[in-house]
Point group: C2
Chain length 694, copies 2
């Protein structure tokens, strides 16, 4: 019953030798080549509006032999490079999806997509929509009613229109209007969310014209009022010039005088990262941002692919047009395109390696995305400790983590997304929500139960954030199963006469479906490989999932919100693997109808035992805004962790060298308390730390 493992680490190749790895995102040449191939399908001079040009990942049946050959140092099979291109005939609603084979330079398919399948937004489109909204004469006429001071700068935040089944087949934007502080309109970074306006233009992307102007309700009900002369309100600026900054924070530097412990081998558009027995490949694409492939520990496979599958943010105000606010920030926009350019010393601290990427633009050209991922180590406190109280000897090791972080700005909101690894075989995915609340105008002095007043006349409506982490496991191999453990009290009996006994059970998840946590039973999901057994206790090797529970989507099951955000009603979805099924909310989320996401796949009721399955781990928060969340909110942090269970033979971090002052070089600030250097005595409590054998 030995543990089978692929033991060789990934051979390092130079960037020149390998054109592309099958998982590598499209290179610049591949992007332009894909666009040209699609263009060639159309009459000359057809103006195509490219929405997506991205890698069409290889079929798993091809990819697995490739990566196994990589790790075994064998000849690599060849795999054709393919691209997915989604595009419009510009200024029409004719939305197409093409798959092109870049290796053979052929177009494999090129289809017009059906009703209610719309493309995500893109940067140039957003800028154009903003302009159209603000230059429209009827919008200007409405704005005139506000009697704004000369020079006021009105800002338009285009929102994906959303779905409600009411005249929403057309692809549209709902623009929410704000203004810079009217008393200070030349401040380009004025927090316009403190000055929301009641006028909301709707623009059709087919005609690129304003087709309707909505008024926003500002009271307790659906009453709409004509725009009123504006009432001056104080500003609520977040940029530093408007703050009285603290002066008493002393610098804190993270210094690695011998460099960092990780290596990053950039190979074209993807990189191999190796650190503390971990190895994996990092890619970066338009929709998902960071994706991790082929995650291994000491050469043993763990995860074929890890990615954020989507997120959904539905809002609580039931009134038009707010009832349509339900953002899919990956599907509607893209964690890749929205990624920040991370600045040295600002976003990431310590010794940093940055990864850059290339994405496509609406013309089939290139957008450089520098510094979209930062990689660094951090100290995360003590990893483990034990002091033998009889000798006083303390054994302690510190917890070093590897962090891969990216930050996305989705209009008002920011999300800081990070994969983290530690030396105890654990993988952590962390999301921090920050940025600015989405605001709407409210009559002064009013309170409503679906939001919080965060500034005079400004309401921040309650909303939920639901995230879906896609986990394609390969725990010591590709045939895994999902199980869950529960802990149950033993009934009173002769065996349990004092009522204190309890026991655990393990239940196999037989079929695809949605599953919930149940803390009352301490239900914990594990992904197991029953073909590989722990040599000490014979249990199947596994990784367990630690995810916090959360209130599921509150929109009712007949709502579009519920039908579209297919992942947000369950803690776990488990489905049988199928190529191309990556996005828990469906491939095209913009104004979608549902039916193409993970809930629908789960309804296939596939058997998923000892097979190739994919697990979607949901987590989230119900954001009930508070004053402290304005003008920019302090990060709200959520973590999901995957930890080994009977995968190793002992604590995998036991071989981390003891934490010593010589290595860590801490500084003593207190004057009066000398650090003892004497050896331990019986009954001491850690007098002796980290020293060699007494």
């Amino acid at each position: 019953m030995s543990i089978q493992a692929v033991t060789s680490s990934l051979p390092v190749r130079s960037a020149k030798q390998v054109a592309s790895h099958p998982f590598a995102p499209l290179s610049k040449d591949e992007i332009t080549s894909a666009a040209q191939l699609v263009q060639s399908q159309w009459p000359a001079n057809t103006d195509l509006h490219y929405k997506v040009i991205t890698l069409e990942e290889p079929a798993k049946v091809e990819a697995v032999p490739y990566i196994e050959a990589e790790h075994a140092g064998q000849k690599l099979p060849s795999i054709d490079r393919k691209a997915l291109v989604a595009y419009y005939i510009r200024k029409t609603n004719k939305f197409h999806e093409a798959i092109v084979n870049l290796t053979t330079q052929t177009v494999k398919s090129n289809v017009r997509l059906g009703n209610n399948m719309h493309a995500p937004g893109d940067g140039s489109e957003i800028v154009e929509i903003e302009r159209i909204a603000l230059e429209d004469e009827s919008v200007k006429a409405e704005l005139a009613k506000l009697q704004l001071p000369e020079g006021t700068v009105v800002i338009s935040d285009p929102w994906i229109y959303g779905s409600d089944g009411v005249g929403d087949d057309e692809r549209m934007y709902q623009c929410f209007l704000y203004m810079r502080d009217p008393a200070n309109p030349s401040e380009p970074d004025s927090n316009h969310y403190a000055h929301p306006l009641t006028i909301s233009p709707v623009i059709s992307t087919e005609t690129m014209q304003v087709i309707r102007i909505d008024y926003l309700p500002t009271g307790k009900d659906n009453t709409l009022k004509e725009p009123q002369p504006y009432k001056p309100q104080p500003a609520n600026e977040y940029v530093s010039e408007y703050q009285t900054l603290r002066t008493d924070i002393k610098p804190l530097h993270v210094v690695q005088p011998e460099g960092a412990s990780f290596t990053v081998t950039e190979q074209g558009t993807s990189s191999v990262v190796e650190w503390q027995k971990w190895s994996f490949r990092v890619g970066f694409n338009q929709r998902e941002g960071m994706v991790l492939y082929d995650v291994r520990y000491e050469g043993r496979s763990l995860f074929y692919r890890l990615s954020l599958s989507d997120m959904n943010i539905p809002y609580a105000d039931p009134r038009h047009p707010f009832h349509k606010k339900s953002a899919f920030d990956l599907g509607d926009a893209g964690a890749g395109v929205m990624a920040n350019n991370l600045k040295l010393g600002c976003d990431c601290l310590g010794s940093i390696h940055y990864l850059s990427a290339v994405l496509s633009d609406d013309k089939g050209g290139i957008v450089d995305m520098p510094n979209v991922v930062c990689i660094h180590e951090q100290d995360a406190g003590i990893a483990w400790k034990h002091t033998n109280y009889r000798t006083g000897r303390a054994a302690v090791a510190r917890n070093r983590e590897l962090v891969l972080q990216s930050i996305i700005t989705v209009s008002n909101y920011e999300y800081i997304l990070a994969f983290m690894f530690n030396q105890a075989g654990e993988v952590i995915y962390e999301v921090r929500a920050t940025g600015i609340l989405s605001t709407q105008p409210i009559d002064e002095g009013l309170e409503v139960p679906w939001g919080t007043v965060v500034h005079p006349g400004v309401l921040a409506t309650h909303h939920q954030h639901h995230f879906s982490l896609r986990v394609d496991p390969a725990i010591d191999g590709y045939a895994n199963r999902l199980v869950y453990d529960e802990a149950h009290p033993m009934p009173r009996s002769e065996f349990n006469p004092h009522g204190t006994g309890y026991y655990t059970t393990e239940t196999v998840v037989e079929r695809s479906g949605g599953y919930d946590l149940d803390f009352t039973k301490n239900r914990v999901f594990k992904i197991q490989n029953t073909q590989v057994r722990n040599p000490v206790n014979g249990k199947p090797v596994a990784y367990k999932i630690h995810a916090p529970d959360f209130q599921k989507i509150l929109s009712d099951s007949d709502s579009f919100n519920y039908k579209r955000a297919e992942f947000s009603n369950k803690n776990i979805y488990a489905v049988k693997y199928r190529d191309g099924e990556l996005f828990a909310g469906g491939k095209y989320t913009n104004q979608s109808r549902g039916g193409t996401g993970v809930r629908s796949w789960a309804e296939r009721n596939d058997k998923i035992v000892d097979d190739d399955l994919v697990v979607y781990v949901q987590f989230g928060i119900n954001h009930v805004p508070r004053i402290e969340d304005f003008p920019v909110m302090p990060c709200e942090i959520i973590k999901v962790a995957m930890k080994p269970v009977n995968f190793f033979e002992k604590n995998p971090a036991l071989d981390v060298p003891p934490s010593t002052q010589e290595f860590n070089k801490s500084t003593l600030l207190s004057e009066q308390h000398q650090q003892s250097t004497t050896t331990g005595t019986i009954g001491g409590s850690g007098d002796v730390c980290c020293s060699s054998k007494l």
Copy 2:
């Protein structure tokens, strides 16, 4: 409706001027004086065994005027110093509790405590018990049956006997026996938990003799076997000499070239800590370890007292004697006495200030406890960020935390306990469980549903860890109330035609009692002061509690476990304040019967609205051991946070200066990706970070 606040910060006095603060733990002189006062109550030469000599904290009606006068810079009222002394007539079961007034040098009370009220263990007693167990002839006779090799070192881990109502009125210890690796008995730090023995002596502390020897069941049922000749098993050592250590970890230093941002003003046996608008006093006592008093932000009061109230660890094996394993690590032992001496560079990283303490010994003398608390800052990632996508300007601040950490060793287990503060007004309490699992012998090849085999012949039984954080709030004043918010879907209606609406409700907790979280309703508890209103939205100032849910105690409600661990069946207990009610599991937990803890206080059904209430926040884990938890477990981390809600007028961390490279001095590792210094352009995404106004 202005926010009333006590605005002056705590005046700093030198250690010489202030003899003691009313909250300061007993000084050396006070400890010995208290002992002598009690001694004087008895005939000369009566040998007293001191178990507890600790500060008897002043009545709140006295303490509040004192701290208010402190902050107002007024004349301080005088408050008598008092001590609680719990002691035995040595080698008897005559357990007494005395209250002495150190200021008047009088003994206010001195009573013999009743049945089933027993003292905690103490260091010298533990050492004695170990010796008695191993020197006892009948124990030796049993050990001889094991036919251990010459020179084998047997170790005795004395456990508090526990309660089961079966001949357990006497104060006893249940000793669990182990041995060092028999093949290597001269290794003083051999992990004896890998070699558990089936012989368990029971010792009475009244006679200090072995009164019984139990055999431990090693099968699937209650069958007991005579001790068998031992079978050699491999060792499972955790100290570094037995590991092949990793050699590829590069150092990581946390350096504060201008020192740390906090100040620690040591005043006798307590210290005032000031950092980033926070101020509080730290004490350290035998039972609770670290206690925080008078926690304020910008001079506004938040918490009168914060402390770990107790923890309980019940075990899942229903068979004798394991059914009695239910440790109260504070009440049975003490987080103060068990605290590690934290070593510079080992346990805490960065620029560290250490606090030391003095405790008492069993003879009424002094035990110096150096370096029991370490104080330092740490960087905890990004605090908040927003990028204006139109200008490309990013505003970002980093999250600096202040950490006060102590570590306790309770025989096999370790707990790392930390209070943390950040610049967004948040208080976090973090527990990390590490150390060594409690083990027992099991027949080889066997599996049982109440534990995990972690080494050949070694079972680690499932157990729960339940912690109780005592929060004595003073949110902008001493009359507070506990409420909880919930989020509910709106029913479909004309107002909510699309089924997307939801709203929040707030419910007041009227009476003392135990309350649960309910994530299906997103129930969040808040401590409010309705007399102080937020000037922006008129809502009462409050602090909310973020605590993860957990499986409550599985022992049934008739069990001693349940009756004794009064806190472990509810997420929240709220009671009306009464002096002296500090310990959620009762004052004397050793072999207790229950009835003296927070559940009992809650049954008084006091009104607690706009009054002086105390909130106990429970949190915990059900520890189902895995191989990776042996021989020392990687830290399992749980956090509870308290965050402001409508307490401030905006994000309180908004005035943290922007994160800049000049300040943070990160190091660029990647070669190929230049950091841009150009100003932002329209449509950029964070090209410009942290710069001054464009």
